[in-house]
């Protein structure tokens, strides 16, 4: 209750200056550029107005104040398990699926929200799935330039990549407007540098990378190599044992920190 009151107050405070720009890509772009001009200090970054439950729902984010206790608890348990297996310190975590449609993005963004729930932690979700850009849709319908632009342009400042969301303490890096056909984007060593930077910049920041299905996509394998840990999402009733084993083999020993079973149809009673 206290949290929601604070959020309400914040929303009211920030509602007026932002209101005219909402819903328009150009305004977002302008907003990003403004951030870039200001010098990219995270502490000084603008806080986007918190999303209403309806906005959360539209974006496929679990309302942690809502009544879906099972989902909330599951994600909290997942967070706790990840923290326990990581030991002390933050980490970069690649979330990949066994097959397309595993719900990788759903897990990545909600995991980000779950980390951000903790006031002592922040989360940044990096969208690396060039086919399914659902993370990139989080800030707005037209995300503008993102990771691919950054990787192809050495002059592109890091700060403009990080975009605020309606969830406190959670930021997003969109995948960018580059065409899917643009080959080996993620082999660029700047990506590694970027990820390291994102992790090291703040010790309370947890970097979550949304990747395509690992067994089907080369990008995912590269990304898995770049991250500290890999989480495999197994969709309910869609893959066989061998596919799971193939995905685990693709990740390789050491980096694989866990498996989650997603979209388990709980009894709606």
């Amino acid at each position: 209750m206290i949290m929601s009151k604070i959020e309400d107050a914040l929303r009211k405070a920030s509602a007026d200056p932002l209101q005219p720009d909402r819903g328009r890509g150009g305004a977002q772009y302008g907003y990003a550029r403004a951030l870039r001009n200001r010098g990219g200090d995270n502490a000084r970054m603008e806080i986007a107005p918190p999303w209403t439950p309806a906005e959360l729902e539209k974006r496929g984010i679990i309302d942690f104040n809502g009544r879906d206790r099972a989902g909330i608890n599951a994600f909290r348990q997942l967070r706790t398990s990840l923290l326990r297996s990581a030991g002390s310190g933050n980490f970069t975590l690649a979330v990949t699926g066994v097959t397309s449609g595993s719900g990788t993005s759903f897990v990545a963004r909600n995991l980000g929200v779950t980390f951000a729930l903790d006031p002592t932690k922040t989360a940044i979700v990096v969208d690396c799935d060039r086919r399914n850009r659902s993370i990139s849709q989080l800030p707005g319908p037209d995300p503008g330039p993102g990771l691919t632009e950054y990787l192809s342009d050495e002059e592109w400042p890091v700060e403009t990549l990080i975009k605020p969301t309606g969830v406190p303490r959670m930021r997003v890096i969109t995948v960018g407007g580059d065409a899917e056909g643009h080959g080996e984007v993620f082999t660029n060593p700047r990506l590694k540098t970027l990820l390291d930077h994102l992790k090291r910049r703040y010790s309370d920041r947890y970097v979550i990378v949304d990747t395509p299905p690992i067994a089907e996509n080369a990008d995912a394998r590269i990304l898995a190599q770049l991250c500290d840990y890999v989480l495999i999402v197994v969709p309910y009733g869609r893959v066989s044992e061998s596919r799971v084993l193939a995905a685990m083999e693709a990740v390789g020993e050491g980096r694989l920190c866990g498996v989650v079973l997603n979209d388990d149809p709980a009894l709606p009673l």
Partner: protein
Amino acid sequence: MRPESGHETVRLFLKEMIRHKWAVAFTFVALSVLGFGLGIVWPDRYTSSVTIDVEQKNIIDPLLQGRAVRTAVTDLSRNAREVIDNRSFLLAALQDQGWVNGPDAGEAARLVAHLRSRTHVTDKGNNLIRIDYSGDDPQKTYEMTRELGHLLIQKMLQSKERESGAAFNFIDTQVKKYEDELHKTQMKMEALQDAHPNTQPGASDDLVRRQASLRTEIDNLEQQIREARIQEASLQSQLSGEAEVGAVMTRAQRYQSRIADLTRQLETLRLSYHETYPDIVQLKQQIADLKDSLKQEQERARANPKAAEAADIDATTRSNPVYQKLQQALYNVHTNIKTLEARLEFNKDKLADLKKQSHDSQSAQSDMERLRRDYQVNQDIYEDLLRRRENARVSKNLDSQQQSEQQGLSIRVQEPAYLPHTPDGPNLLHFVLAGSGLGLAVPFGVLLLFLNLDPRIREASQLPPEARSLLLASLPHTYFGHQRQGERAALTVSLLLMLACAVSVGVLTWIHMSGAA
């Protein structure tokens, strides 16, 4: 599906059931309605049955023990099925019931096939045959069942009567045959009797006895003849010896007896007189003369004995009384021998005759014996057959009486046909229940099969062991906004649909069945 616990299985099953609620609901509705529809259009089937008791033990058995043999009908019960399956039998039943009237052979054949398929014969043991018939109409079913039972009994009784009649006829023929045989034998015996009047029983014994006595007599006669011959020989020799002795004796003896006489006189005289007495002297003289003569005679006899004998025999012997006596005896012996020989001859003839007679008698006797034996045997058989014929007649009458009375002593209707009131077989309720049951079972079974065969992972326990150890969480499906309510509503609607379907089908079934009843 390899869940490790039953609880997990149920949970998984329920989850999948809810996931596919529409398929489940529609399958249930479709199958329930289908079952109801089938039940409505399914024709009612009425079954009636008649039970026939074959060869029931009853009072007639002990009464007729050993007198009449009841035709065994147990075999009939065994092939009652064949009897009923018989085309002519079924056709007769159809005609009796008036189902078949016209000469339409195709229609008749169709009806016969129909009746055959609807009729079932069961051997219930203890000589009970049950005939079931199922038809579409209760009244017709009842009538046809009654008809089938009636016809079967009639058929069995007819068969029995035919059998016992055939048995009677056979025995009757046999009786007649033996009667002829006996008559013929009797005639033969009479003819033989006429030809050989002696061939009475015991005649041969008499003959034998007579032969034996004849033989004894012949033996005696022969013995007597032998004795007589010995006597004859002895007399003959005595006779010839006597003649000779007589001849010799006569002269010498006469001399000697004269001498002895004279000597005796002399002795007597000497007692009274002296030697010199004249008489004595004379006597002495005479004796001396006689002695001389004797001497001469003896010498002559010694010199020519035969001549002396022959010369003297006739004269001497004939005059000899001994000789004559011997002669007499000899004659007697001769006569005796002749008589004996005649008798012997006669007896021998008689014996030969007897022997011949005996031989004839024996052959006639053996013929007679044979005939008598034949007669005896035939008579035995004849009498036996006569008895049997009477038994067969009783059996025949028994069967024909049963046939005429239709309620036999050995075949009777144990349980008559009845008018079926309620249709048997599956009724509407069964169809509805089956449809609803299938409506539940089919999705259930299909889902169970699908879950068992589908290798896709639905549960943590289905994960490979390597992955299971790494499983951090199982994230439930997230319902955003009103999705959950929508899902619940859908579930409720599907359940209500099933319920409504079940209730409406149930109510319709009840209405239909109460209306039918």
